[in-house]
Symmetry: C2
DNA sequence: CTGGATCCCTCACGATACTG
DNA sequence: CAGTATCGTGAGGGATCCAG
């Protein structure tokens, strides 16, 4: 294992050593959303072999990126969460996600969307400098994922699940990417039927103002 | 190969697909410094097997990150360079490098420093907002790497090799990381002999102001 | 000499089954 | 639920060889 290191005294090489193994970056992505149990991580990653997931978590723990915590009774279950050092990966992960999102075309058959990946994508697209004078709550449906996005006092709150009293409910599919990247206008997306709204339709423009890749 | 994709419609998964194979991120690092020939890349990466380097370059070319260009005669050699899409990786790569640099302690025996990795590290550490009213030229020696860092009109110019008329020549080793991260003060580094100067010693404080992790 | 291609060996990864 | 055990496969490592 130590033999597989890059052998360069370089920050990027160090990062690649720690994060470069398969699945690791996606594990960090899901943990950036919040602490997770082993089985939750497993679900979010598609088809990770359990031995691989186990090995990656051990490695991340050894590197100080993740801590393993046993919840107090009566739950007594195990959760994995990022350390402060791990949370510092947010900038880099969002930057990578923005870059990768530009190369996404139409989803290939079999490709899935998870709540955590959508939450990270929205965090990456969020423009805080445009949010200072907006207070609004969206409920977003992408494929079969439902999440709540609330902007209040310039800060963003994202969570899985439906919103109570959403100002706008947005139902869409892969078109969300074209919408966020500006490839299609909100008006056009609604016109084409690629986005279905429930609430004030003008708020969709607010959405694409607040979230843009 | 298509079977190894993550199967998620997610920007980060896409980025991990393209960049996640071993060596790829370090290839991008060196190409961010400038176009390179096959053999230059080979040298900069330590001990990449040539078949692996070849396969990575083909993959990056297929993904639109790198272009392969045959120089006009009489050189007739081959250079690899980033496309515009590839250059857009700079933000993400610098962010990853900053994160990784924090975990670098003392270099382990056998770890090397290359000119390209130092140039990327300095780009990552550069604080343009502090550079607006500085014009200064440094010659930096780290281990056996020599490079020139010039700040002029708020912009940074980095190149391998010695500087003509440097305002300050800095000779150091692994201590450069502690200096950039603020773990030791410039005064202390000089005092300890971890940094040798030739020129106005006060400019070392300018250096640590302009470059900080 | 550069810019690779080829071969062989090893080990990490992936699939599946199983356990506290 | 939270992993460990086992085993086959293919990608990576290292050496060598070859064409322009």
């Amino acid at each position: 294992m130590g033999q597989r290191r890059y052998g360069q005294y370089c920050g990027l090489a160090q990062a690649a050593d720690v994060l470069g193994e398969r699945w690791t970056l996606l594990i960090v992505r899901d943990l950036l959303v919040g602490p997770k149990r082993f089985t939750d991580l497993r679900r979010g990653l598609g088809r990770v072999p359990t031995n691989i997931l186990s090995a990656r978590l051990k490695r991340l723990e050894a590197e100080g990126v993740v801590t393993r915590r046993v919840l107090p009774r009566p739950a007594s279950s195990v959760v994995y969460e990022l350390t402060a050092y791990g949370r510092d990966l947010e900038d880099a992960v969002l930057a990578l996600g923005r870059w990768g999102a530009r190369a996404l075309g139409e989803p290939e058959p079999g490709e899935t969307v998870t709540a955590d990946s959508m939450i990270i994508a929205l965090r990456a697209a969020f423009r805080p400098e445009r949010a200072t004078d907006h207070t609004v709550r969206f409920e977003l449906h992408v494929a079969d994922v439902v999440l709540t996005a609330e902007v209040k006092e310039g800060t963003l709150h994202l969570a899985e699940g439906p919103a109570a009293h959403a100002d706008l409910v947005v139902r869409t599919g892969p078109a969300v990417r074209a919408l966020l990247s500006g490839e299609i206008t909100p008006a056009r997306a609604v016109e084409d039927g690629q986005v279905l709204l429930h609430g004030d339709p003008g708020l969709l423009t607010t959405f694409t103002t607040l979230f843009q890749l």
